[in-house]
């Protein structure tokens, strides 16, 4: 016997299955008394369920709609406050002022010394030091955080 079509039974009862599947389930039901019984139980259960779910407490619909309107207005008010004329003008002025400051300071910086050039000059002054291999080796050692952290201790230990 083919696999029991458990999950198809509700759809079968409702007539939702495509013809081939409907045919397959119907054939199975003819041969399988268990599935036939299941189908009947599901049919009864669906009927009982619609009665057992019950009805919610009564609502005054005019009041419900009025409350909904209030909530909607409140939400709309919250969303668009910044789009009203006064805040809009303020925001636009502030943005304009910030833009002006940015442009002005940019021009000032371009007139002054280039910070990158200064940095390059400082590095070039140290080139002589860096070319000595032993010194560089020492510098790499100093990059070890533990060594750096314990430098004072090492020095005092050596003294002691």
């Amino acid at each position: 016997m083919a696999k029991h079509p458990d999950t198809d039974l509700v759809a079968y009862l409702r007539g939702e299955l495509p013809p081939a599947d409907r045919e397959r389930v119907a054939r199975h039901l003819e041969e399988c008394p268990d599935c036939r019984q299941d189908t009947e139980q599901i049919r009864d259960l669906l009927g009982q369920l619609s009665r057992s779910i019950g009805q919610p407490p009564e609502v005054n619909w005019a009041h419900y709609r009025a409350e909904l309107r209030e909530k909607l207005e409140a939400r709309r008010g919250r969303r668009v406050w910044w789009w009203r004329p006064a805040p809009l003008v303020l925001s636009a002025s502030l943005a304009g002022a910030l833009l002006l400051v940015a442009v002005w300071s940019g021009r000032e910086t371009s007139r002054g010394a280039d910070p990158f050039t200064l940095e390059e000059a400082a590095i070039s002054r140290q080139l002589g030091l860096l070319q000595e291999y032993q010194v560089v080796e020492q510098l790499e050692l100093l990059e070890d955080l533990d060594v750096i952290r314990d430098l004072d201790g090492l020095a005092s230990g050596r003294q002691g």
Partner: protein
């Protein structure tokens, strides 16, 4: 002729307030009832269904018309409810069943006049237990069951609402009904 939901939604996208009011009037009861069925709390159901309408208003422009309006709207609502349940899970564990304002309409909703009062009582109890068992289902299983039973949505529509495949919806429904069947069989 009444305009379709989809046409109204297009008008909402253009900020047509009358179209929005019409959509709210059409869906308010369904939205509130579905939210309540998922949350079992009237105040939360009211808040979240209103929030769903606000989201609808804000996102109407993104409704492409590829699916039915109802499916699209239910997705907004169900997502809100699932998020709410996720956020409040710890609180629920703390105050179990507090604030559960589920009314018990079973007495009023029993249709046929029953001659045997014992039988009637037993059926009412079964209904009550079944309703409670639905409340205990995993959130997505419960959503699938409610969308099927209460809103009469087809599997492909539930799949769109829950953003999963139809096969997954079938598995959700199968598992949920297996659990619920056990509740009924226990009696």
């Amino acid at each position: 002729m009444e305009p379709s939901d989809e046409a109204l939604c297009e008008r909402v996208a253009k900020r047509d307030e009358a179209a929005f009011d019409l959509l709210v009037a059409r869906y308010q009861e369904r939205a509130y009832r579905l939210a309540w069925s998922m949350l079992r709390n009237a105040e939360d159901a009211r808040d979240l269904s209103q929030e769903a309408f606000i989201r609808l208003y804000e996102a109407a422009g993104s409704f492409g018309g590829r699916s039915k309006f109802s499916t699209w709207f239910y997705r907004i609502l169900v997502n809100l409810c699932l998020d709410h349940k996720r956020k409040h899970r710890w609180w629920k564990l703390w105050v179990r069943d507090e604030g559960d304002d589920r009314t018990d309409p079973i007495l009023e909703r029993q249709p046929a006049p029953v001659t045997d009062p014992v039988d009637k009582l037993s059926r009412e109890r079964t209904m009550k237990e079944l309703g409670a068992a639905v409340d205990r289902l995993a959130p997505r299983q419960r959503a699938a069951v409610l969308l099927r039973v209460q809103e009469d949505l087809a599997t492909y529509e539930i799949a769109k609402v829950l953003k999963c495949s139809e096969a997954t919806v079938r598995v959700h429904l199968h598992r949920a009904l297996t659990t619920l069947k056990k509740t009924v069989e226990k009696r």
